[in-house]
């Protein structure tokens, strides 16, 4: 079917600015992805899935622009023993990265998977993204598969002693970056992946994660604060039997962020938790779009998203739990809440359940509200200043999401970041 003309034109204009990397063995997957982009077209304002978030700046053919943010705050995860993999404006920097050697894991750049003949990677690149295109289309992810210029393939075969930390630095005010990572966690293996940094003026990032039976992946991410930066990210995660995926994202400012999480529970007794805390100010727009598919018995999924919005900021949550026929004993939970610090800010939520099995327990809730005045007075009556009391209540509001991080050191680092933001903004 032909695309609407506006969409066709916008898609062609954007594609004209991009060059597909040579990339030997991923070439076929990339050509495939490009065909999908051409067929779907890039997201447009009239698309139902983009009803609350304008994709314009994410797809525009114009060069993006975002000033660099300077802060004298200590670096996030700075004191943590971790394996650092650094990308500057979307390009791997060997100089700034650690040696990519760590017991229990093999790490390679995507461009090296062909010459090194890394089978699992060749077989995964673009595959989960393709699966994730139905029932809802995600053209920006297909665009990423086709054109991503860099990224890493992480093969987890054991239990590495430290987290793998992907650091995205932003150096040029006009950078337009696409990264594509693939991760395979083998049976019984366990890893923690960290991501942080603003990455680029415009950032399109896709991660495909395949967790084998009994594998575990923890993911903690903090998205950079460069005020004018925009980002569209996708995580496609497939879980095998008794595997565990736990992901947390902190977003502090950035004019536009769309984070999509596409999760498929394909083996019995698997667990997937995704959580997010975001704090935004002014023209900040933040969108969490989550799609969890239960396609096995006795799996558990949790979505916990909290947003603090002020000065006209906008928060969006689109979350779906799809329970397929036969996915009995599913335990699905979803909560999305916003704390609006003034009347100008808004929260738009679209929680959805679609259930084709009869023995399931699924619940979802979404709320939006102001600071609890009674609690605020109680704190103040004990001598706590309005500012500190508001901060305490705001952190308390976000706590349910932050508490999803199992590692205390990591959750403390995130809380510190939040406290920093609150002390600057409230």
């Amino acid at each position: 079917m032909a695309l609407p003309e506006v969409k066709q034109t916008a898609t062609e204009a954007r594609l004209a600015t991009l060059t597909m990397p040579e990339a030997g063995c991923t070439r076929a997957a990339r050509e495939d992805a490009l065909a999908r982009v051409l067929e779907m077209g890039l997201p447009g304002r009239r698309d139902e899935y983009w009803k609350y978030t304008r994709p314009d700046t994410l797809i525009s053919a114009e060069q993006p622009h975002a000033a660099l943010f300077h802060s004298d705050e200590p670096l996030l995860f700075g004191n943590l023993d971790r394996l650092k993999i650094v990308f500057i404006d979307g390009v791997f920097s060997a100089e700034d990265s650690d040696d990519l050697e760590l017991e229990g894991v093999n790490i390679d750049r995507i461009e090296d998977i062909c010459c090194k003949d890394i089978h699992w990677a060749k077989e995964l690149y673009g595959v989960l993204e393709t699966r994730g295109q139905s029932p809802v289309q995600r053209p920006l992810a297909a665009l990423n598969t086709a054109f991503a210029a860099d990224g890493v393939a992480i093969h987890v075969t054991g239990k590495p002693t430290k987290p793998i930390s992907l650091i995205y630095r932003h150096a040029s005010e006009t950078s337009d970056a696409m990264l594509h990572h693939i991760i395979r966690v083998e049976s019984g293996a366990e890893v923690t992946i960290l991501e942080n940094g603003p990455a680029a003026s415009r950032f399109n990032k896709c991660i495909e994660i395949d967790i084998a039976d009994g594998g575990t992946l923890h993911h903690v991410r903090a998205q950079g604060r460069d005020h004018e930066r925009c980002a569209a990210t996708h995580m496609f995660t497939r879980l095998g039997r008794e595997s565990v995926f736990k992901s947390f994202t902190l977003t502090v400012n950035g004019v536009l962020t769309r984070n999509e999480q596409v999760i498929e529970l394909t083996g019995d007794d698997a667990i997937a938790h995704v959580a997010g805390a975001c704090v935004g100010d002014g023209d900040f727009h933040h969108d969490d779009t989550v799609f969890v598919t239960h396609d096995a018995v006795n799996c558990e999924s949790r979505q916990v998203f909290k947003k603090v919005l002020r000065n006209g900021a906008t928060g969006v949550f689109q979350g779906k739990i799809l329970v397929k026929e036969g996915a009995q004993k599913t335990d699905g939970y979803q909560i999305s809440q916003s704390l609006l610090l003034d009347d100008d800010s808004q929260f738009l939520a679209k929680p959805e359940l679609e259930i084709y099995a009869d023995d399931v327990a699924c619940s979802h809730g979404s709320t939006s509200g102001a600071i609890d005045e009674t609690a605020l007075f109680y704190l103040r009556s004990r001598g706590v200043s309005v500012k500190d009391a508001t901060n305490m209540l705001t952190l308390a509001f976000l706590a349910e999401a932050v508490d999803e991080i199992e590692d205390e050191v990591l959750s403390e680092a995130i809380v510190n970041r939040l406290e920093g933001w609150l002390s600057r903004h409230i």
Binding site: A375, Y378, L379, R380, S381, R382, G383
Partner: protein, 251 residues
């Protein structure tokens, strides 16, 4: 210490006058009790003194050691020495009781130009005081008042009071919801704080509490005014005969 003169208060949002000229002076070192029928304005008085939103003072004044309370923000009143033990203590999910107490203690010390209490000193003090109120370690770790029983909430109020050592303690029905033993604990907590420099305003419906916390003065509040003031015997009279006689006498 606390001087309230001709205090008139209405609701901010409605044309409803609640306090209609309250006169009351609490001297340092003294315990004053306020009794009075439901809805007579006792809690309103306590809220207005501690600075809660929603009320408008249309006439009169309230000062603490000469300083105008009505001009101050709630946190300033707290630093100046006002403490209200709430009739309905507020639950605050996500804020740990201990964190809350420590923030409050240090905020007040800071406002008074004193040094913050070290973590170790704070812990030592809070543990000792909690123990005497039979508040266990688990309750200190839990979020403020969340899931506390009625009596536990009230004891938690007294713990806060003991930690903050305010000059003017206002207790709004701290006895309600307490079992006999808890009432004794709370009274002991209050009595331990009684000293020359501190005033108490104890709002209650029952003589029972006043058996343990012996008041110097008892006031009867009705329809937004203090209608009668007397000694401890006044509380006994209310306990035995209710308010009908007193109200008939003043009308």
């Amino acid at each position: 210490m606390l001087e309230i003169k001709n205090l008139h208060v209405k609701l901010e949002e409605e044309e409803k006058q609640i306090l209609k000229g309250v006169d009351l002076t609490v001297e340092a070192g003294k315990v004053h009790a306020i009794m009075g029928p439901n809805g007579s304005g006792k809690s309103t008085l306590s809220y207005v003194l501690s600075g809660r939103d929603g009320y408008e003072v249309t006439e009169g004044s309230a000062t603490l050691e000469g300083a105008d309370l009505l001009e101050m923000e709630p946190e300033e009143r707290a630093a100046a020495g006002i403490f209200l033990a709430f009739q309905y203590p507020v639950e605050i999910p996500g804020v740990g009781n201990m964190t809350f107490l420590r923030t409050a203690v240090n905020a007040q010390r800071k406002a008074r130009g004193e040094e913050e209490l070290s973590a170790a000193d704070f812990l030592k003090e809070v543990r000792a005081k909690a123990k005497s109120l039979k508040i266990d370690a688990d309750m200190l770790k839990r979020p403020v008042n969340v899931g506390f029983s009625g009596g536990e909430k009230k004891r938690n109020e007294i713990l806060q009071m003991a930690m903050l050592e305010p000059k003017m303690c206002i207790l709004d029905e701290t006895d309600s919801g307490l079992d006999v033993d808890a009432m004794k604990l709370v009274a002991e907590g209050v009595n331990a704080l009684r000293d020359e420099g501190r005033g108490f305003l104890v709002i209650t419906h029952y003589q029972r509490l006043l058996d343990h916390i012996k008041p110097d003065v008892v006031h009867i509040m009705a329809d937004g005014r203090i209608v009668k003031t007397g000694g401890p015997e006044l509380a006994l009279e209310v306990e035995n005969n209710g308010y009908a006689d007193i109200l008939a006498e003043v009308n």
